[in-house]
């Protein structure tokens, strides 16, 4: 058909406006910028303090590079059109009546499919590696209905713990974190972990959903009341980091945070011994203190709130004024 031929030639004219060479040069420039952005992505993250964080940052860098390439490609094309393909003031004619192009449509369907398979595979293997490193693998998540106190069934494939330390009990409540080291008789509002050792946890909540989140470790797990969730990761860098509640838990949600101290095994053992000697005292607790202050004073409470649990009584207390990275 005549119109068909005309449309094809219109398309060719549009497509060939830039030579293949020019397009290749632009793609190469885009590739270079995307690679550079991928490298920059590492600097947008908190310190890499766990084995998991190294894997996650690598994945993020990879996705940032691909994303940048697509973003620049699409926005660059649109900007070119906006700048150079405007209609003249009194030009009321139409553009070329191109209704589609099979070849182009196949390419822009196939390329995203391949990219998705690529990103999916890399993500899967990253998740798998994190699972290998840490037993929050599928079989490790307890099934609904398991309540604390039930005897834990041994799971096939459960790696024999090579660690020398027992799991740490993480007790969350409105609004305090409490960490218990049952074998050492220590309870603390600050989490202490030995470096380069698998850290294992049993996460429980006394009231509502909470989230165990340490940005420097890139790990996060919701804590569900009525369940005991096994969780683990490996800290690899000594320092003091922030632990935050990541699942909205009511009025003082934002204040429900504390610190994690990663230290050498020797320091860790010393801390455990020293802490066990301390008499239990009431810890500093932002939620309980500000609630009590508001009730005593004449400050308006605003709207209704759940009464915070009293400050936890522990051997070792931390302060909100402590520094962290």
């Amino acid at each position: 058909m005549n119109t068909e031929n005309q449309r094809t030639s219109d398309l060719n004219r549009v497509l060939n406006r830039r030579s293949i060479l020019g397009l290749t040069a632009l793609a190469a420039a885009n590739l270079a910028i995307s690679y550079w952005m991928g490298q920059q992505a590492y600097s947008w993250m908190p310190p890499q303090a766990s084995a998991e964080s190294v894997l996650v940052d690598k994945l993020f860098s990879f996705m940032t590079a691909i994303g940048t390439f697509i973003f620049i490609g699409v926005i660059g094309t649109l900007l070119y059109s906006v700048v150079f393909q405007r209609a003249a003031k009194y030009d009321s004619t139409d553009g070329p009546p191109i209704e589609g192009n099979l070849w182009l449509e196949v390419v822009w369907t196939a390329v995203p499919i391949m990219l998705i398979i690529w990103i999916g595979t890399v993500s899967y293997s990253t998740y798998d590696q994190m699972s290998l490193l840490s037993p929050f693998a599928p079989q490790e998540m307890k099934t609904p209905g398991t309540v604390p106190g039930d005897k834990k069934e041994s799971v096939p494939g459960d790696p024999e713990p090579t660690q020398t330390f027992a799991p740490i009990e993480v007790h969350s409540r409105q609004w305090a974190w409490e960490f218990r080291y049952p074998e050492d008789g220590v309870s603390s509002t600050e989490l202490h972990l030995p470096v380069n050792q698998r850290a294992r946890f049993k996460l429980t909540s006394e009231d509502v959903l909470h989230g165990f989140f340490v940005p420097a470790f890139r790990v996060k797990q919701d804590i569900v009341p009525g369940r005991e969730i096994d969780f683990s990761f490996t800290p690899i860098r000594e320092g003091r980091y922030r632990l935050r509640d990541s699942e909205y838990s009511g009025t003082y949600f934002a204040a429900n945070q504390t610190n994690v101290v990663v230290e050498s095994e020797e320091e860790y053992r010393q801390w455990l011994l020293a802490a066990a000697q301390n008499p239990p005292t009431a810890a500093e607790n932002v939620a309980f203190e500000s609630f009590s202050r508001a009730v005593e004073g004449s400050i308006s409470l605003g709207w209704a709130t759940v009464r915070p649990a009293p400050a936890p009584i522990v051997n070792y207390t931390s302060s909100e004024k402590d520094s962290y990275e």
Binding site: V14, W44, M45, P46, V56, M63, G67, V74, I75, T77, L78, S81, V82, Q85, R86, D91, S92, D94, G95, P96, P97, I98, G100, E105, W108, P112, I113, I119, G120, S123, Y124, T126, Y127, M130, F136, A137, P138, M141, L209, G211, F213, P215, K220, D222, V224, P225, R242, D245, S246, Y248, G250, T251, F253, A254, A255, G302, W303, A304, T305, V306
Partner: protein, 561 residues
């Protein structure tokens, strides 16, 4: 008069007398139980926009609180109530009613129908909006204040009810959400039936404008998904008021089950929201680029693919929740798959614009702005679908930034594009381009200024829904807050433009943009019952550059012949 028109017209003489109170120049009709789809469409849009301003005001108070690290501007309980109500109002009282308004106004005109299939049901669905809106707003004034459990209302927080009263903010919230679900289901039945049954002669599926395809795809999600959310809301209401234990863990309920009910609908809801905006992009780009929509059949079929896939991705909101690893991996792959039909659309719009004869009217600027923010949100969306990365940024400001790029970026800018594009049709007047462009510039800068800094904040580990935060996040929060205030200011030129143009704008002809489509063949504003004679469609849509007639008759009748 053709046979078709006789068939559609009601034989009841009462019905044919209705045009008098509903005459296009009678403004009082907007305050009546009118059954005219055009009146209902504008009622929806204006009502929703008032709620948008209110929800935006709440957001500005929140940004005021977040401009400093400490919780100092408002009490923590007030902040928590504010973000709960902001999210609820923006979704259930702005976005959904606004999109129903666009669909109501445009679908019958675009498919060549005189009204919706069930006009009274249509009016009833609209009038439920002010009812549940008042219920929701009333919760600000009852003892204990409004719901403070976030718009997800996850139990057990949502079941805690510190006031101890039977009538509390959470109960009113749940009642309003359930009613909103019923209203939306009524709207969806109507719109789907209209598109299936009332297309003009000759308008086969592949001659139907892309906007109608996207609305159909979106409303089918409403029919499938909304019953799950509405049922979840009713069960939660029963737990809260009469003491059942569907979700209460202390009495054997499962709080994670609620998350499944909630996200089974509330993730697809994102596509209910964004699909019609994809439709707006597909309508606006061809007009102002003077080119047909590139790859029209693939673009419209990809809407249906999105509908199907959207029903099997909900667990990606629960990657860090109490979900097993196999579930995380399965839903990671389904979620990534949804980017393929979405990507097809984005490339098709770029190809539509490419090589055209562009006119950068306000509508076109908003469509281009919406497309670019959507592209950015799509890229961060693929990142979020990757479970190991999501575990780090889940429930942080990265997610807040991502979905605001979708909703305030793509959807609100797409809405503005639609309003500027069809304003002459709706009102018979032209808007002022200068004010429109000022509105675009402020909106575009505001959106990027408030939502871009949220991404690094989330990467650094700032959780969402916090009334206070650690001091290292202060700098980026200040920029975001300033952007938020700018975004608030950006609505002023829009309101000024709309009000003054509607009153005294230059008169618009039938088709000021030289656009192709049935709605542009009738007068502006269109007469009651739209078409004097039902159009007979003979060409596919978007015939720019082809000079082929769209219809074989004159739908406007003799008056304009």
């Amino acid at each position: 008069m053709s046979d078709a028109s006789v068939e559609v017209r009601s034989p009841d003489p009462q019905a044919s007398r209705q045009p008098e109170p509903g005459a296009p120049d009678n403004w009082r009709r907007f305050f009546t139980f009118s059954t005219d789809h055009k009146v209902i469409g504008i009622q929806y849009i204006v009502t929703a926009f008032i709620f948008f301003l209110f929800g935006g005001l709440l957001a500005m108070v929140m940004r005021g609180e977040l401009i400093t690290p400490e919780a100092d501007l408002v009490d923590r309980t007030v902040y928590n109530g504010l973000f709960t109500m902001h999210g609820t109002i923006m979704l259930f009282m702005w976005t959904f009613p606004m999109l129903n308004g666009l669909a109501n106004y445009l679908v019958p005109l675009m498919i060549g129908a005189r009204d919706m299939a069930f006009p009274r049901l249509n009016a009833a669905a609209f009038w439920m909006v002010p009812v549940f809106g008042i219920i929701l707003i009333a919760s600000f004034f009852i003892p204990g204040g409004p719901s403070q459990s976030g718009w997800w209302a996850y139990p057990p927080v949502s079941l805690q009810n510190p006031t101890g009263n039977l009538i509390n903010g959470q109960a009113l919230w749940l009642l309003a959400v359930a009613l909103s679900g019923v209203s939306s289901i009524m709207g969806a039945v109507n719109i789907v039936t209209t598109i299936f049954r009332m297309r003009a002669p000759g308008m086969g599926w592949f001659k139907m404008p892309a906007f109608c395809w996207t609305v159909l795809s979106a409303q089918m999600i409403q029919l499938i998904g909304l019953p799950a959310l509405t049922a979840g809301a009713v069960m939660l209401l029963l737990d809260l008021t009469v003491g059942t234990s569907f979700f209460d863990p202390t009495r054997g309920g499962d709080p994670v089950l609620y998350q499944h009910f909630f996200w089974f609908y509330s993730h697809p809801a994102v596509y209910v929201i964004v699909l019609p905006i994809f439709g707006v992009f597909s309508e606006v780009f061809p007009v102002y680029a003077r080119k047909p929509l590139f790859g029209y059949p693939v673009v419209v079929v990809s809407s249906l693919m999105i509908t199907v896939l959207s029903l099997v991705v909900w667990v990606h909101h629960m990657f860090a929740s109490g979900t097993p690893g196999w579930m995380r991996m399965l839903f990671m792959f389904t979620t990534m798959a949804i980017s393929i039909p979405t990507g097809i659309k984005v490339f098709a719009w770029v190809a539509t614009v490419w090589g055209g004869k562009l006119r950068l009217t306000t509508a076109m600027l908003f469509a281009l702005g919406g497309l670019s923010t959507f592209l950015f949100a799509g890229i961060t969306g693929i990142m979020l679908s990757s479970a190991p990365f999501d575990i780090h940024v889940n429930n942080t400001y990265f997610v807040v930034g991502h979905f605001h790029y979708v909703i305030n970026g793509a959807v609100v800018m797409g809405f503005y594009a639609a309003i500027y594009h069809w304003f002459p049709k709706m009102t018979g007047r032209m808007y002022y381009e200068g004010l429109g462009k000022l509105h675009f510039a402020l909106t575009f800068i505001g959106i990027n200024m408030i939502f871009l800094p949220m991404h690094p904040l989330g990467l650094l580990g700032m959780p969402r829904r916090v009334a206070s935060y650690d001091p290292e996040f202060a700098f980026l929060n200040v920029i975001a807050s300033l952007g938020g205030f700018l975004l608030g200011v950006s609505t002023l030129p829009f309101i000024l433009n709309m009000l003054s143009s509607w009153n005294q704008g230059e008169k618009a002809g039938n088709n000021p943009w030289r656009a192709i489509g049935l709605e542009w063949l009738v007068s502006s504003p269109p007469p009651h019952e739209n078409f004097e004679e039902i159009p007979v469609v003979v060409s596919p849509p978007y015939g720019y550059g082809s000079n082929e007639p769209l219809v074989s008759n004159n739908p406007a009748g003799e008056a304009l012949a």
